[in-house]
């Protein structure tokens, strides 16, 4: 893992969960530690902001996992690639 770890273990685990599912991590500045990009990397793909110091780290980690699990592109990305090939 070449990126830096999130200081809150629960959030770091949620970020790793995203990576296992093909999400890309980009570190950022300000209050956000970074952003997660879903595998459907187009304008309509999902992006999650990961706070450095959320009010409650466990809640933030749970919410991140919830958004990842409800990503509508999980099963679409293959179809999209096929569609791109045909056109």
């Amino acid at each position: 893992m070449s990126r830096s770890r999130h200081p809150k273990p629960a959030i770091e685990k949620a970020v790793q969960y995203a990576e296992q599912l093909g999400w890309r991590v980009e570190l950022s500045g300000g209050h956000a530690w970074g952003r997660l990009f879903c595998p459907f990397s187009s304008r309509s793909g999902c992006i999650i902001s990961v706070w450095s110091t959320p009010r409650n780290a466990d809640n933030h980690a749970r919410q991140i996992r919830k958004v990842i699990d409800s990503c509508p592109h999980r099963s679409d990305s293959d179809d999209e690639q096929e569609g791109d090939t045909e056109s």
Binding site: S28, G30, S49, P54, N56, R62, V67
Partner: protein, 190 residues
């Protein structure tokens, strides 16, 4: 929509807001929302809209949602809260899911073969094969018949009232003359 009690603290309410007017998830947007008090929300972009998942401690769900909407409005980024992500129109399957019962039982409530009878009629799509029920009406019936906790029925009313208010505000901004015309027309006939 979930409420969990954590005594002696205030209960924590889970809900999500759909927010328009924010084109991109930039650092400016993130910092503005964080500084406005939305550090208890997870921000994401879904279908080009900002989606905010909250876990907020407050005396009631109503206080939690209103506080969150005001925080977003006060962030100074011209964000417009479109609605709480909860749909009042539901299918029998969704009713079953929301109360943790089977679809078959819901159909039995509907046709009166189980339960006390008097299940509310569908709200719309009456002539289709797939009518929809108003969750507020269904949850009221469920509460009246001790099949749902009263606070869950009340929370359904709260969310629906907030969404109706937000939609009405938005419609008034888009077509104020139309809203006034309809109000005049309907008042004349009451």
């Amino acid at each position: 929509m979930k409420t969990s009690t954590n005594p002696p603290c205030e209960p924590e309410h889970d809900f999500a807001l759909i927010v328009g007017g924010v084109g991109e998830q930039t650092q400016h947007v993130e910092d503005a929302l964080f500084n406005a008090g939305c550090d208890d929300a997870t921000l994401s972009i879904q279908y080009g809209l900002l989606y905010m998942e909250f876990s907020r401690s407050a005396p009631s769900l109503e206080d939690a949602i209103i506080g969150a909407i005001n925080d977003v409005r006060n962030a100074g980024i011209r964000a417009e809260v479109l609605r709480v992500d909860e749909c009042d129109l539901v299918t029998p399957s969704e009713i079953a899911r929301r109360i943790g019962r089977t679809r078959q039982l819901i159909h039995q409530y509907m046709n009166g073969t189980r339960g006390p009878g008097g299940f509310p009629p569908p709200e719309c799509h009456l002539t289709d094969n797939a009518p929809l029920w108003a969750w507020c009406a269904v949850s009221y019936w469920l509460v009246q018949n001790d099949l749902l906790r009263p606070e869950e029925g009340w929370n359904a009313e709260v969310v629906e009232a907030i969404n109706n208010f937000l939609e009405s505000e938005r419609q008034r901004q888009r077509y104020p003359e139309l809203v006034d015309e309809i109000a005049r027309g309907l008042t004349m006939h009451t």
